[in-house]
Amino acid sequence: MELILLNTKSEELILDQQIPAEDIIKKLKLLRYPKTLASDEEKKNNSLLWPTSTQVQAQRRGDRWGYNIHFFVSGPQELTKTIEQFQKAAEQWKNQSH
């Protein structure tokens, strides 16, 4: 409804029945939050060097954009090394945002 009230062109709002629901939602979000989602995409491209043992996914949670991180370690040395690598990633992130 907000998109209609925002005078979004009707062609843009006609959605192909064949498109999966997830993609439709993505398209509608892009129409409603163009600036924020463009900036999210830009941030996604500034990739950071994460520790090798981690699975990292950039995501938006409400008003915050950030990384969802999973990692597995099997010993204290590995944990220490992973933390060091995280610290490097944090430095890199800091430098990118200045």
């Binding site: 907000e2 009230l5 925002l6 005078n7 409603r32 939050y33 163009p34 600036k35 924020t36 900036s39 938006r60 409400g62 008003d63 915050r64 954009w65």
Partner: protein, 389 residues
């Protein structure tokens, strides 16, 4: 001699309903003296009753044009609601004294749209009771820096030419120099109390935005220049000032426009005159969106803004955009003068740390605003009733 109520203020209202319990009060007498007889009605209960639990946009609009003078039957003096959301917000020690509810101005983002459910603007006639509550509290804690504001659910001054409550409050606070009173306004109505200055513990504060935002979102409020001119008069008469750059509203030219605002404040005032400058970004309750859409359409910078649900439930801008906006304001003020006393209003601890690298208690000049003070009677009774349940 008492100043009359100006005609342009009288003309804003369709009707004044006076509760018979309040008929002989000072404020009702003043209204009866200056309002035309056909605008006044004596009533035994709140008008426009028998609606649903929420106001429709039309009822909300009507509530701005109809006054109900009545008594308030409860505790006047309360802690600011922000302080009750301690988990998610960083809030200062602030107490509110509500001498009425609703507002005769019309900002698109106004939180009263999701807060009020009364079909009329209320003016409470029993200010004497409010003052005796304050007196009781002050007699126990006169030495502590309690801060009290009257602008939570009604603008502190926009209706003051009708009530003249500012005069009683200024006189009261002059007796307690450790306590401070804040009149928070978007009007320029200050002439009615200036003669009572100097009173440095009375702070007149303006919510302020650049002229472009005032023009597009703050309907019926005093213009940018009018607010600053009123602030200058207050300084001359010996009152202290505060500015609330809140809510900051994103728009393509936000940097130029907020820079202009900061330059003007810095050019016309000094950090000694302005006790505090708070900064906050647009936020609103989710349920408010529908009312705002219906009342202001989607052309408004508020309804069309890219807002996201935040911790605590309110809709806010993206956190990094908020951070950028706050950094911009803080830096710009500090470039003018590092002595400006700045703080973030209704923000999360994460945003505080990102912006100041300190919590409010650690920021010089803000310690008194955030250090815990003894609970007041109403807080203790809230606690007692919570335990009983």
């Amino acid at each position: 001699m008492e100043k009359p109520i100006p005609l342009n203020l009288i003309q804003q209202f369709e009707k004044v309903f006076i509760d018979e319990k309040s008929w002989d009060s000072a404020v009702a007498e003043r209204i009866r003296t200056y309002f035309p007889v056909d605008k006044i009605e004596r009533v035994v209960q709140e008008p426009f009753v028998g609606r649903g639990p929420e106001l429709s946009p039309e009822e909300f609009d009507r509530s701005k044009k109809n006054i109900f003078v009545t008594t308030f039957n409860g505790q006047f003096f309360k802690r600011c609601p922000g302080a009750t959301q301690k988990k998610t917000l960083t809030c200062c020690n602030y107490y509110v004294l509500n001498l009425g509810s609703q507002c005769n101005m019309n900002c698109s983002y106004c939180y009263l749209q999701s807060y009020l459910n009364s079909p009329v603007m209320k003016i409470f006639s029993n200010i004497d009771q409010a003052l005796s509550e304050l007196e009781e509290m002050a007699s126990q804690h006169a030495h502590l820096p309690y801060r009290v504001g009257t602008g939570e659910v009604i603008d502190s001054l926009s209706m003051d030419e009708i009530t003249l409550y500012s005069r009683q409050l200024v006189n009261f606070f002059k007796k307690y120099p450790k306590w401070s009173l804040e009149f928070k306004t978007k009007s320029d109505k200050v002439d009615q109390f200036l003669d009572l200055g100097p009173a440095q513990n009375v702070m007149v504060s303006w919510s302020i935005n650049p002229p472009y935002i005032i023009q597009s979102e703050e309907h019926g409020t005093a213009r940018f220049e009018e607010r600053l001119a009123a602030a200058e008069k207050c300084v001359k008469s010996g009152f202290s000032l505060a500015f609330h750059i809140d809510p900051m509203i994103w728009h393509p030219e936000w940097k130029e426009n907020y820079a202009f605002l900061i330059d003007e404040i810095s050019r016309r005032f000094t950090p000694e005159q302005v006790k505090v400058i708070s900064v906050g970004a647009l936020r609103f309750q989710p349920e408010q969106r529908h009312m705002m859409r219906q009342r202001f359409g989607m052309k408004s910078l508020v309804t069309s803004a890219e807002m996201f649900p935040s911790e605590g439930g309110k809709y806010r801008y993206d956190a990094s955009l908020r951070h950028e906006m706050f950094q911009f304001v803080l830096k710009k003020f500090r470039d003018h003068n590092p002595a400006w006393n700045l703080f973030l209003c209704m923000e999360t601890p994460e945003t505080w740390l990102n912006s100041f690298e300190q919590t409010p208690m650690q920021v010089p000049g803000l310690h008194d605003y955030f250090r815990p003070l003894p609970k007041i009677k109403s807080e203790n009774s809230d606690l007692a009733s919570a335990v009983k349940i």
